[in-house]
Amino acid sequence: MRFGIVTFPGSNCDQDAHHVVSHVLGHEARFIWHKETDLEDVDCVILPGGFSYGDYLRCGAIARFSPIMDAVVRFANEGGYVIGICNGFQVLTETGLLPGVLLRNQGLKFICEDTRLVVANGHSPWTVLCPETLVAPIAHAEGCYFASPEVIGQLEEQGRVIFRYASSRGEELAESNPNGSINNIAGIINEAGNVLGMMPHPERNSETALGDASGAAIFRSIIHSFEARA
């Protein structure tokens, strides 16, 4: 499987994502400069974490207008796999590929810490190989997921909430919600299921050397789904 990792000016988890899909998981990967306009040679696009355009104005708001984003929208609409991690999730909501917005964390501070996720829908292409709960390192100041009640209702009904912040036993408690997201939402997919946005960084816990490797299950799932589809 070939991954393409988009580098916006200010992206800073692009190298990390590349390292995991290529060196840890052994797949092909290339960086895609934000001024490129062509995605023909990739099977999955990763919009990495970081501070595209400094996160000035609103996170992801300026990156959305990078030349590559038209291609990403087309790619997604044609069913291509797209994952937005952290800043990448923010870019996806700004672009409209995913609904809602990511607001300032309720506590207003940037938070870098391991959280826990419960997999709320294990049938998506991104979660088929995931265990019930995952360790989930977060690192963001704007990760509070918000959408109108109608949108939230739709997401819940259609099983599009994929990950929720939870306790280590998988309980979705208010205390285990680090940023104030509605319904403890940490990650959602689009209707077709090929686009995932999530605030936690699965690339940060994909190797046992770093303490935990449960995040790799998300990448393994999409590789599995891709190979099954082919």
């Binding site: 609103r58 607001l103 964390n105 959408a147 104030g180």
Partner: protein, 81 residues
């Protein structure tokens, strides 16, 4: 022509920053404080527009395309002179 764009959180949308400011002000001893909302103000110099109406129209376009996210924010525009 200078245009000012206000971008403010919509009613009903969480505004933790506003809450924090309210909290901070009451810690400082200010009382009788109702709601506090924090938004953004963007001052733009539009060098090629001289007609106020046209300038406002351009600013509105800028606001709806980039400056505000209308899922959670409202905006308004005015001429600064």
């Amino acid at each position: 022509m200078r245009i000012r764009v206000h971008v403010t959180p919509r009613r009903g949308v969480l505004d933790p920053q506003g809450q924090a400011v309210a909290h901070g002000l009451s810690n400082l001893g200010f009382s009788g404080l109702g709601e506090v909302r924090v938004g953004k103000v963007v001052d733009l110099e539009l060098t090629s527009e001289s007609d106020p109406e046209a300038a406002l129209a351009t600013a509105r376009k800028m606001a709806s395309q980039l400056l505000a996210n209308e899922v959670v924010e409202d905006f308004s525009v005015e001429v600064l002179g």
